[in-house]
């Protein structure tokens, strides 16, 4: 563990560990780095050796805790990820991400003619029809989505 803390330890924030190798930048997109407060540091470790999953990525964000929607989006692209909440340099909470049965507001429907893409006052809504690998089905137009990385809202 000491070996892994090559990046600056944080006092308060969130560590997203065990991200599937190569997906750290997508996780950053989900987190929305632009929303962070300007004094916060974001550190990324790419291609880190991991006993559990071979190679992994890690993202550490200072002064931020993730909304359930963002956690769901991370679960979608990397079900292996774990989320640790750091307070006062200590890991206070640690949990695996969990994909719910419905994913709302996270993925845009790839069907441009879908009612969820017409400016209606609703959120996108997908049912998880398979978990490994993840397959989603739009609750509105029934379109199946597997390449949701390309369709994050």
């Amino acid at each position: 563990m000491v070996r892994e803390l090559r990046i600056t330890p944080i006092r308060n924030g969130t560590v997203i560990d065990h991200i599937a190798n190569g997906l750290a930048l997508d996780v950053l997109r989900i987190i929305g780095v632009r929303d962070l407060d300007k004094d916060s540091t974001v550190s990324i470790a790419l291609h880190v050796r991991s006993g559990k999953i071979g190679w992994k990525d890690i993202v550490k964000v200072e002064n931020m805790e993730l909304s359930p929607r963002k956690v769901n989006a991370i679960a979608l692209i990397s079900p292996s990820a774990t989320i640790s909440i750091i307070r006062d340099h200590q890991v206070r909470e640690k949990r695996a991400v969990d994909l719910p049965e419905h994913v709302t507001g996270v993925v845009r429907c790839p069907n441009i003619n879908c009612i969820s893409n017409q400016g209606e006052p609703i959120e996108s809504d997908f049912r998880v029809v398979r978990r490994r690998p993840v397959v989603l089905r739009c609750a509105y137009c029934d379109r199946q989505v597997t390449d949701f990385l390309r369709h994050l809202a």
Partner: protein, 311 residues
Amino acid sequence: MALRGRDIVSIRDLSTEEITEILDHARSMIPVAEGKKSSSALEGKVVATAFFEPSTRTRLSFEAAVQRLGGRCLTIADIGVTSMRKGESLYDTVRMLSSYSDAIVLRHPNEGAARLAADASDRPVINAGDGSNQHPTQALLDLMAMHETFGTLAGLKVVLLGDLKYGRTVHSLAIALAQFGSELVLSAPRALALPEDLRGELESLGAKISDEPELRRAVRDADVLYVTRIQKERFPDEGEYRSVAGSYRVDASVLDGAKPQLIVLHPLPRAGEVDPEVDRTPHAAYFRQAFLAVPVRMALLSSILAPTRGG
């Protein structure tokens, strides 16, 4: 009655038992649909028919069904007369409509519109076609036309011909046929093949599916030939439309090698896919099919709007 108060958005919303129940009920409604018997099953009910896309048959058959059962219709038949043009959301329009009526029948050009309407409305919503997605009540009457001829749906060999990509009637029908254990033969131009995910869903339902683009070969030992129209309005571009327009046509000679009992169905309107000479053969069943729209929609509406026990 298990259907009371239910939304019918997709054919997936109905089990085979429920479909069988609706078809039995529809059979008993035939004399009412013909005006030979009267019924007051929908007396005092108001059904909104909101059609944001052109329709003749579907809207009129729903309205005929309501009126024959003693109910009244509230009609939005032309998008130009509503405030949707002024940018009101479908969501708001449906909320308003649901406060004026007991049920809403909706047709809309966007896929998923009926699901959204069902969420917005606290009255039941019946999908009368959402873009290229689903048209469950058409599937019910298609099934009734087949059942009326063969007395069963299990084991029927059904050729689905034409636009299997954008054709919402075949999407709903194929799912129901797969659930009833019919065999499906897909006959479509390559550009209009059934969507992959739907095909996968049919396979997971245990359907026996084959492809036969050559029409004469497809009909050879079939029981039903289900013909669809290529709908220009569904194509994202004109070029794609032109490449497939007129690529198939059913005439009497195509049916030469078919079984004598084979029936030809078509959701209508036709635009040249079925030659009028087929009308004079015993295979033509599409006008009977069109009539069945009324008793099927009567059965569905009266089940959904059935009074509560004692009420």
